[in-house]
Symmetry: C2
Amino acid sequence: MAKDPTTTKKNAKKHEENIGITVKKSEDVAEWYQQVCLRGELAEYAPVKGCMIIKPNGYAIWEGIQKFFDAIIKQHKVKNVYFPLFIPESFFKKEAQHAQGFSPEVAWIANKEDEYDKERLAIRPTSETIMYDAFSRWIRSWRDLPVKINQWCNVVRWETEATKLFLRSREFLWQEGHCAYETKEEAEEETLAYLQEYKRVCEELLAFPVIAGRKTDKEKFAGAVYTTTVEALMPDGKALQCGTSHLLSQGFAKSFGISFLGRNEQQQMPWQISWGISTRLIGATVLMHSDDSGLILPPRVAPVKAMIVPIIFEESKKAVVERCYDVADVLKNAGINVEVDAREEYSSGWKYNQYEMLGVPLRIEIGPKDLEKDQVVLVRRDTRKKDFVKVKDLKESVEKTLEQMHHDLFSKAKKFLDENVVSVKKFDELVKAVEEKKLAKALWCGATECEEKIKDKTAGVNARVLPFEDNKSKPHGECVLCGKDAMNVVVFGRSY
Amino acid sequence: MAKDPTTTKKNAKKHEENIGITVKKSEDVAEWYQQVCLRGELAEYAPVKGCMIIKPNGYAIWEGIQKFFDAIIKQHKVKNVYFPLFIPESFFKKEAQHAQGFSPEVAWIANKEDEYDKERLAIRPTSETIMYDAFSRWIRSWRDLPVKINQWCNVVRWETEATKLFLRSREFLWQEGHCAYETKEEAEEETLAYLQEYKRVCEELLAFPVIAGRKTDKEKFAGAVYTTTVEALMPDGKALQCGTSHLLSQGFAKSFGISFLGRNEQQQMPWQISWGISTRLIGATVLMHSDDSGLILPPRVAPVKAMIVPIIFEESKKAVVERCYDVADVLKNAGINVEVDAREEYSSGWKYNQYEMLGVPLRIEIGPKDLEKDQVVLVRRDTRKKDFVKVKDLKESVEKTLEQMHHDLFSKAKKFLDENVVSVKKFDELVKAVEEKKLAKALWCGATECEEKIKDKTAGVNARVLPFEDNKSKPHGECVLCGKDAMNVVVFGRSY
């Protein structure tokens, strides 16, 4: 007799262990997000407060981001390096703004001070200082420029607010690029070039749109002349900074004594920039696309593109499972990474739920009837749309469906962003927009005082970005708060 | 008039800046090694004592090792993860031997104890404890096994001896693999499997042979039942541990409360192993192959396989440089990474010296006469052998020469190893062999006391490895020190 394991008692029990997400995204994003991360097996809280363990499913996304972005920076002739985790305290003191910005978050190592004339060692929160000390030795002549280096590493910032997996933790993984150029023009051009590449990571790999622009002086990187940013809007109406690129100009060069003999035979200082993205992008991706059944991974970054699940009946089991592995081989040979789950101790229903929770973009179901018809059932994770596909057309169909899914996820996120950035003229409109979980695009006089007042009056609404496309020229109109002549168009919002 | 830049005053001056290695490998290996690393631009000493800065040339080798080995472990179904840098002190205390072995080298973070009920946080020297705490949550049933994870990360061990670039530093990069299995047999099998893969890294990628075997109890990893190792012999007669794999057995499982419901419905403990290689392998590679002109990189790990240098005369400059880029395109399209150095401010002679110092495996010289004859001059870094190769045959010739170079480097290193491991029967022979900068293969009774006495009497000669191939059965003979019945064949030597 045909036995569908989903109906057996043993498997019904197993089925119960397959706990779903217990809150809706629309009701409690924070709790929903945590459950999606935990049950999607991306990460978990570490026994060390404020830290996280990145599990295989989560780390594979980071590997995807690394692979994509590392290839890009190598095209830009950036070389990877590794600098020490430890930074002498005196280095931080050299650039005053930088020191002031980072000191509250720095962790220090203990009991080793004596060896360093009582100098403490910081655990790197970022590597400008230790790298630029090296730059002062490396850069002698214009022939040594540009210097373009990057490192993929861990950094530590002793956050005091509650940890959020990927979004805020005391240690995280990132890349930090550091470049020095002969001219200001090159430095400014490249500040934008790497920001543009971050936009590509978000849009072309992770399938969500971002607003590119500048930060206000208040929000810029400690030690930068200006910071450019790509900001995304999360489903709860909060903005998330997804990548930043800083024009450091010559401030660090001055502090660290970096100079070179120019083409004009004059001693001069290089122009510097730095730029970074982090494991925070994993959090953004999860927040943006996932649903009440769990994780939805955008196909291009998903390590496993499709999970093949046999529908097992005793008499056709052997042939069906064989077909699953044959299909897997065909797809793997075409460079599409797929897996087969032919375990008999779990029902196919349990597996469907499980791989939805884990965010695998496609499911391929194969049962005895499909075998007869030389077809498979192809199910998209995001829409759950089912297609019956002939085995001979499968490779093409999988490729097409994955690409379509990428574009659909992006379009959906783009529509959400477009609908939730609203232009406001008056302060009360700004407040209302943010209350409605939107971003408010407003005119601003350029005074930090107004920016701070807005933040105070709203308990946290801040200037996220001065979008490039809205600030090509000085706007006409009045500051949303003080009514004075406006200098910039700013997107205000709450943020992570 | 034709102008060879090597003869101009400006370039003669440049030429002087191209400082060579000032000591011979045969005369002072330590100083020679340091110069090769520094002038080969692999790494430099950091301003933080005991730490190093890995520069682009050095990091590219690490990327080569990562790429090679990461593909291997993924075939073994190992998944990459990331665990926190910080480990609570109480975790170390759980496994007594482990704690004892690592505590002298642990660095702690300062001023954050209060938050942890006065518990200190260690900066990871290795991650067994924090990972196995997670294993105790992850492993419930035999269905959860095996667990096979790995992380590529930095570790800190507060060494008190003098730093040697790559070979000994307070922070280094490594991978640490950690697996848990249902049975002891699997665990033992896999301990050997990963060691075998380390042998492949050394031999197939880095072109030097190793002796695979077990460590003595005295030299094993703190917390392991036994440690297996691959040991290489360096040109100064010292052994270098290149990779280790540990059978941890059930000790950590017991300490961390890791257990699972077995197939027999009984609660039981998993069998664990861990395994690691580090940036030390870069040091081994440098020491092994390089010569008095600088670095020699084995071709398979060299990031740039060939440097193309135009011989520039004013009237043929354009055509020669064009040909260089054409040749580069042909090779790049064949997947061979090459570069062109067409800078006119440096002479070709200066460039030859420079790329020899940087260890680029092949040099391709192209001058006006070569252009006429549709040929290039192909020069091997190791032998300096010159070949005239027709442009149409270049791709094939480069591929063949690179492979030949790999095999020749390996053969040379293998011959050196074979000639410098000598079998000894008496203690004075052992002393003499080590004085002659060889490794001494001797019989040993198995008593730690004898091992320690040998170390004391020789000021540091230690048991490096019990080679598998010599220890397939109990040897016949007497311990090299005490004369009692021998249990093992041991390779003794000085070590890094």
